[in-house]
Every structure is written in C-alpha cells, then in structure tokens.
C-alpha cells in the first residue's frame, strides 16, 4: 500500500518539477546538433521517468532490475541517436569539403579568396552551406583575419579541414610566387583527400554486401548438423541396446 502511495506521489511531483530535473545532454556539441529537438526530448524523458518510476515503486526486486536496465537504454535513446547523427554529419562533411575546396581552387584562378567563396556558394554541398555563409560574412567584415579561417567548422575537430583552411589563409596573404606554391600544395592535398574518401565509400558499399558470404558457410554447417541429427536418430531408433 505504501509503495502505491509513494508511486502516485512520485508521479505528481514529477508532473510539476520533472522538466527542471531532467537532463538533456551535457555535451554542448550535442545540444547544438539537437537544437530544435531539445523540448521534445525533455518532455519524452520526463514522461519516461514518470512511467518507469511508477512501475519501479510498485514492482518487486526483479521488476526493479528489469526497469533499471530497460530504463537506462530508453533514457539514453536520444543520446545514442545524436551520437550517430553526429558521426554521419562528420562523414558527410569529410566527403563534401574536398569537393568545395576543388571548386574554390578553380575559382581562385581568377578571383580573390573572398569572391571565390562567394561564387562557390552557388554550388556548395548542402551540408557546408550554413558554415560557408557564416565564413563569408566574417571574411567580408575582416578579409585578413586568421581567426575566420581557423574557426571555420572548428567544432568538428577535423584536422584536414583546419590544415586546408590554413593553406587558404596563406594563399590569401602571400605574394604571387608564394601563392602559386600554396595553391599547388592545396591541389595535391585535395586530390589525395578526395581519392581517399571516394575509395572508402566504395569499399563500404562492397562491405555492405559481405554478409552474403556467411550464408554458404552457415548453410553447409546447418545442413551437416541436420543430416547428422537425422542419422543419429535413425541409428538409435531401436534403443541403445
């Protein structure tokens, strides 16, 4: 009886103060990624705690252990989803960035860095668009600021991007001979990068079919076990003696 009273009390208290207690994500990068989903996640977690808490109070010890394990994964569901989303975003950026830098290199033949960035927005991969628009605003305000280049997509901590942006900065600041050298270094780097990401993607496609290789091996094993079982049954049909 006392358990039911505690459970009802927990539900009532959670209804009023649950949202204040519920944590969403500790990591700032995940909070930023789930910006528009945060209120929804908060409400989901509050309701989850309410339901599981109620069952936890009225259940026996086995139910409590079960609820704790299931509850952990349900509570962390959005966290795992965001981690996956973050990984996919990083992969997409890693693929899209050399494409953009190639466009920039072509445009740099006849433009300054700022106007090349501006012109490149016409055919930039969607995953880079917002960051590039922000970069353009910063470059237009202060074209010679190193921080604009350094802070571009710095939250993704991609060393390749940071290296390439430094090449771009050096290109924008250097004289004609130095700029040609910087340009060639960028070209070489971007070519290798592009080749690597493409090959990785192609290998991933082939790997996605590799589970088929298990079927022949598993089939022959199962076939052998089944007919072996049949043979054993036939042999001992009349008993052991």
């Amino acid at each position: 009886m006392i358990n039911i009273i505690l459970a009802v009390l927990f539900v009532i208290v959670n209804e009023f103060y649950g949202l204040n207690v519920v944590m969403v994500f500790e990591e700032e990068r995940l909070k930023k990624l789930a910006e528009y989903e945060l209120p929804k996640i908060r409400v989901y977690r509050k309701r989850l705690v309410q339901c599981l808490g109620f069952v936890f109070f009225i259940g026996n010890s086995k139910v409590k252990i079960f609820i704790s394990v299931i509850g952990y994964f349900l509570y962390k569901r959005d966290y795992f989803r965001m981690i996956k989303k973050e990984r996919e975003l990083k992969e997409a950026i890693h693929y899209a960035f050399p494409i953009w830098i190639r466009t920039i290199q072509c445009l740099l033949q006849n433009n300054t860095v700022v106007s090349a960035v501006s012109l490149s927005l016409k055919f930039v991969p969607e995953v880079l668009r917002n960051d590039l628009e922000y970069l353009l605003v910063r470059l237009e305000a202060a074209p010679e600021s190193l921080s604009s280049y350094e802070e571009f997509m710095s939250e993704h901590k991609n060393i390749e991007i940071q290296k390439m942006m430094k090449h771009l900065y050096r290109y924008s600041r250097s004289g004609s001979k130095d700029s040609a050298d910087a340009m060639f270094r960028m070209v070489d780097h971007a070519s290798i990068w592009m080749g690597d990401v493409r090959t990785e993607k192609q290998s991933a496609i082939i790997s996605s079919f590799s589970w088929l290789g298990i079927i022949p091996v598993a089939s022959v094993s199962i076939f052998f076990v089944l007919i072996m079982f049949f043979v054993m049954v036939q042999m001992f049909e009349g008993g052991w003696v």
Binding site: A96, I99, T103, C106, I215, M235
Partner: protein, 274 residues
C-alpha cells in the same frame, strides 16, 4: 504435387514480367552499349551454367524430380532478376563512360574555341547516339544564352562538371587568362574519378567471384558429407533429408542471385552530386 502446383501458380503470376525481361527489346537494350570491357553475356551464361549445375547436382543429392524442377524454376526467376540488374549496371556504366567522354572533350575543345556553344557542337560529333538529343538540347540552351550550369543538370549534377561549366561560363563572359590551368586541374580529377570507378567495378566483379567460389565449395562439402553419412544410414527416401537438401540448394541459388545485386549500385557517389 503441392510444390509443383505452387511453382506453376508463381510462374503464371510472373509470366508477364518474365516475358518482358526475356523480350527481344530488353536484350537489344542490354547489349546495345558495347563500349565497355565488361560482358553481360558472359555473366548471364556463367549464371545459367552455375544454376543449371546446382539443379543437376540435386540429382546427386537424390532429390525427387519435382523438387529439382522447383529449383530450376527459382533459378529461372533469378535469371529474370539478373537480366534487369545487369541492364541497370550496363546503363550506369554507359552513362558514366559518356560523362567522362563529354567532360574531357568539352574541356579540350573549350581550350581551343573559348566558347561553350562551339565546344558542345564538337562534343556532339563524338558522343553516343543515346546522348545526341541531350547534347542538342544543351546546344539549344547555349544558343539562347541560358545559364549553362543548370542546363547541364540534365546530363549530370556531378561537382566536376558543374565546376567546369561554371569556369567556362565565367571565362566566356568576363575573360580568364588562367582558364587552361583551371581546366587542367579538373581534367586531372576526371582522370582520378575514372580510375576510382573502374577500380570499384573491378571490386564488384571480384566480390561476385568470391561468393560464387564459396557456393561451389559449400556444395562440394555438403555432397561429401552426405555421401559419407549415406554409408551409415540410407538417406534417400527420407522426406526430412530431402527437404533439408532442397532448402540448402535453394539457399545456394539465392546467394548466387544475390551476388549480382552489387551491380545495381550507382557508379558515381551521390555525395559528389550538387
């Protein structure tokens, strides 16, 4: 009898699709593009040979005739699927080859003419008949002075083509002394792309070969095990054994068919389209 009845029902149900797949038009479309080093015909013959062998091997597994017939029937369904997949692969490969041909010729002629319109007219001479209509519509757009970057979307929205056309358009409108250098960079990328895609196609074939090898080994091992156990107990008349052997051989046909599914994947990555 029930199995045979079911097979006939499925066959009647799929009759129209099967007829379409093996129609003369489909075959003509499949083998029309002969500019590739990969032969669909040899793949189809290999598939037929292999599945026919599996059906014949069912005799050594002492399967009853109706189950062997059923295996043959499913191999036939697999064959129709294979034809459609190989058609997709062939079309992808042909489109890719034409894409490479168009970009390299467009770039080469633009270096000389410095005009997109006249470069496209030169491209029209070398391109395959299947792409004539498309190039003609591009020529028409260039003649009308439309934004060619968007017009070329009808051919491909690959980033290399977009960058190339954008540079050409810019050079045509405002002049660009460094255009040759920019085009050289893109040509190098086109070469890299071609190399990567052909390597990818090679990997597809290698993957298929490995799977088929596994199937052959699997059947061999199963046959040896079966013959070994037959010496202890007579398996031939048992329905339990026959059904097990049938499901085993069926799964092998399924793997042989599925091994070709890899060819349906696009050759150019979606991420490279803008």
């Amino acid at each position: 009898m029930m199995m045979v009845g079911l097979s006939l029902f499925i066959f009647i149900f799929l009759y129209k699709d099967i007829r379409l797949f093996v129609s003369k038009r489909m075959w003509e479309r499949m083998f029309i593009h002969r500019d590739t080093k990969y032969s669909n015909r040899s793949l189809l013959v290999q598939y037929l040979g292999l599945t026919l062998s599996i059906v014949l091997v069912s005799y050594f597994f002492t399967l009853p005739f109706h189950l062997s017939l059923l295996l043959g029937f499913f191999a036939l369904i697999g064959f129709t699927l294979l034809i459609s997949w190989m058609f997709v692969f062939n079309q992808n490969l042909h489109d890719f080859n034409q894409y490479i041909l168009i970009t390299s010729h467009l770039s080469a002629h633009f270096r000389m003419n410095k005009k997109i319109l006249s470069s496209l007219e030169e491209v029209l001479r070398v391109v395959d008949k299947s792409h004539h209509e498309l190039i003609e519509s591009l020529i028409h757009d260039a003649y009308l002075g439309k934004d060619m970057v968007y017009s070329f979307d009808a051919l491909s929205s690959h980033y290399l083509l977009k960058s190339m056309v954008s540079m050409m358009q810019h050079a045509e409108m405002y002049g660009d002394e460094e255009i040759d250098r920019g085009l050289s960079l893109l040509e190098r990328d086109v070469d890299d792309l071609m190399e990567d895609v052909y390597q990818f196609v090679g990997e597809m074939f290698s993957f298929r070969r490995k799977l088929i090898l596994l199937v052959v080994f699997g059947i061999g091992i199963a046959l040896v095990s079966r013959n070994m156990l037959r010496m202890v107990v007579d398996l031939n008349l048992s329905t339990y054994y026959q059904n097990t052997a049938y499901v085993f051989l069926m799964s092998m046909i399924l793997v042989v068919v599925s091994a070709h599914r890899v060819f349906t994947r696009g050759l150019m990555m979606e991420e490279e389209s803008l």
